[in-house]
Symmetry: C2
Subunit: 358 residues, 2 copies
């Protein structure tokens, strides 16, 4: 067991923003929630599955919606408690831990705040170790674990509980509710036992995220050799440095979609293009796809190494395009069907991304 205290939040949030791959919401609001929870209830326990009873119930807590809306609609906090409690009550059990469904973006941090409020530990695992835009896009789906019963709640007291035949239907139902409840809501899905988390989850995600954040923070402080150490830790590679010259954004069907084009700082004939669906999903350099989901794409400010969210993209920004391999737990049969490029409608072959020098 370790704990997350006030001093750990910044590193964790920075790692989470990077793993958000441009999406996952603004960690700033979630940071404030965690800070308040720690002030009110003390440091939050992060526990390994082996430290918890195997048949204990684990429930998740997350925000669901379009990042463009999540950015503007501040959560009250009660909706997350209501949603997590509703899932547990529906199952008639008390949870022993809270799990982040995605360690990436603000959904890394919200579970900490909820765990603090409920007096529960956070289990050191997740289902993505990045952010993904749809509920069925988890390693749990690959193992046949259901996303339901799940609950969706808003800040006004509206609550939905769903049982679905498939995780794709779960996504459809949740999205339908979210569209009608203001496009930024609380969700608690994939309730499962500690043993299931242990066997099928991505292990150590919270610790990994914190360490990743520490490495990136060193880069931001300008420490010598820090960029290389950061890339090495993440198995990542810098693929392109360019100026943002084109940006097309639209919020449709409950998602923030878009396309961003970078022009090489030195050679105006060289371009990188990144496709967005809440997160950065595919990165092309000179029309060659170099990274695609489930591997991770990040855009860092060229000067400050600050990860830039899709909502914060602006014309003229100078950005480093970074590729990172996904968590190894993703490489299971069925992966490409749910999180490969074709699952998002991009007709390209998936090639596992490898770091190191190009």
């Amino acid at each position: 067991m370790r704990t997350i205290g006030l001093d750990d939040i910044d590193d964790l949030a920075l790692g989470a923003t990077l793993l958000g791959t441009g999406g996952g919401g603004d960690a700033h609001i979630a940071k404030l929630m965690v800070r308040q929870a720690i002030v009110d209830h003390g440091p939050i326990r992060i526990m390994e599955p082996a430290e918890l009873p195997p048949d204990g119930l684990v429930v998740t807590a997350a925000v669901i919606g379009a990042p463009t809306v999540i950015l503007e609609k501040i959560p009250s906090g009660r909706e997350f408690i209501n949603s997590a409690k509703a899932t547990a009550q529906y199952l008639g059990k008390d949870p022993v831990a809270i799990m982040p469904i995605e360690v990436g973006g603000m959904n890394t941090l919200i579970p900490l705040a909820i765990a603090g409020e409920l007096g529960l530990p956070v289990i050191d695992a997740d289902s993505m170790r990045r952010a993904f835009p749809q509920i069925e896009m988890t390693v749990f789906t690959l193992h046949g674990i259901k996303a339901t019963p799940m609950s969706v709640a808003d800040e006004k007291g509206n609550l939905c509980i769903f049982e679905s035949t498939t995780n794709q239907v779960a996504e459809d139902l949740a999205r339908g509710a979210v569209i009608r409840l203001g496009m930024a809501n609380a969700i608690s899905c994939y309730p499962m036992t500690v043993d299931q988390v242990h066997r099928y989850g991505i292990q150590g995600s919270m610790s990994y995220c914190t360490d990743l954040g520490k490495h990136l923070a060193a880069v931001q402080r300008g420490e010598a050799g820090a960029y290389d150490r950061f890339l090495e830790f993440a198995g990542a590679r810098k693929l392109f440095t360019g100026k943002l010259v084109d940006l097309d954004r639209r919020t449709t069907s409950g998602f923030a979609r878009g396309t961003v084009v970078l022009e090489d700082l030195k050679d105006p004939h060289r371009h990188a293009r990144i496709e967005i669906q809440n997160e950065y999903l595919i990165a092309y350099v000179d029309d060659v796809p170099l990274v695609s989901a489930p591997d991770l794409i990040s855009l860092l400010d060229h000067e400050t190494a600050r990860p830039i969210l899709t909502e914060s993209l602006r014309y003229g920004q100078r950005l480093d395009l970074i590729g990172m391999p996904c968590a190894p737990e993703w490489h299971q049969p069925g992966m490409l069907d749910i999180v490969g490029p074709r699952a998002f409608g991009y007709d390209i072959e998936y090639t596992p991304f490898r770091g190191g020098q190009a």
Copy 2:
């Protein structure tokens, strides 16, 4: 207490089709469901609220969706049982009776089949004594009774349970689910006590519907004076007889919408126009609105007196346009806000419809 046996189904279904005011689905399928339930479980008990324990739980059972889809997507029956049971289980109580939420269309009959299967009586009341296209359009809303907790189920095993802050939000949430679950599903909303049904419901709806059906059946058999007796029983009036010369239909946002135009059989310069939103909502004769929701509009085949559903409208049909006053329980403060013409987007004044000779 009375019972509904095999011999009563036709009259009840005919009355229900008339009260469906063109919508509410095809009673034929629901008739088959009731017939089977009676064959399997015997006649179904219809009970007054006074015959049941005042604090007993009453749950409703209904189909929700677009009539155009309900017509083609045959229910399995299980979805209604699942939905009614889910609402009761969520409340942690066993129901003492099933209530039709609308006595109008197939939702008059489905509760009988469900009651038969569950071994429960049907309470002789409802919330509309006609069909309406939206969940909040009930006399219960006028009395501040919540539509939730409510459940929506499909035939595959998908299930949604909703708690909402208002009945309008309940409608939004259910509609969102229905759009994603095939546009024809089971719903169990407005769970309440027998006492609440007694105090706030429309009383005797099932009996009224059966009697109305008996009167119309007499018209259909061509009995002397039967048409006048039918009109008198319902407080109704024949407003127009014409040939269907124009029909515009579209299924949008989960509803079947449309406009139908009749041309007077004798005078081609005289027209009636009826606006549809699942049901016939407003009837104009020569551009003067003569009947509007919540009062009832029916189109009867001019030769056979068969009520014609909106889905069965065809060019060239000769139709009688009938106006009928709504149940007196509707005339409460707030009625026009939820079921008056403006609630449906038609900018006309509501004038209570009165039967008798024009």
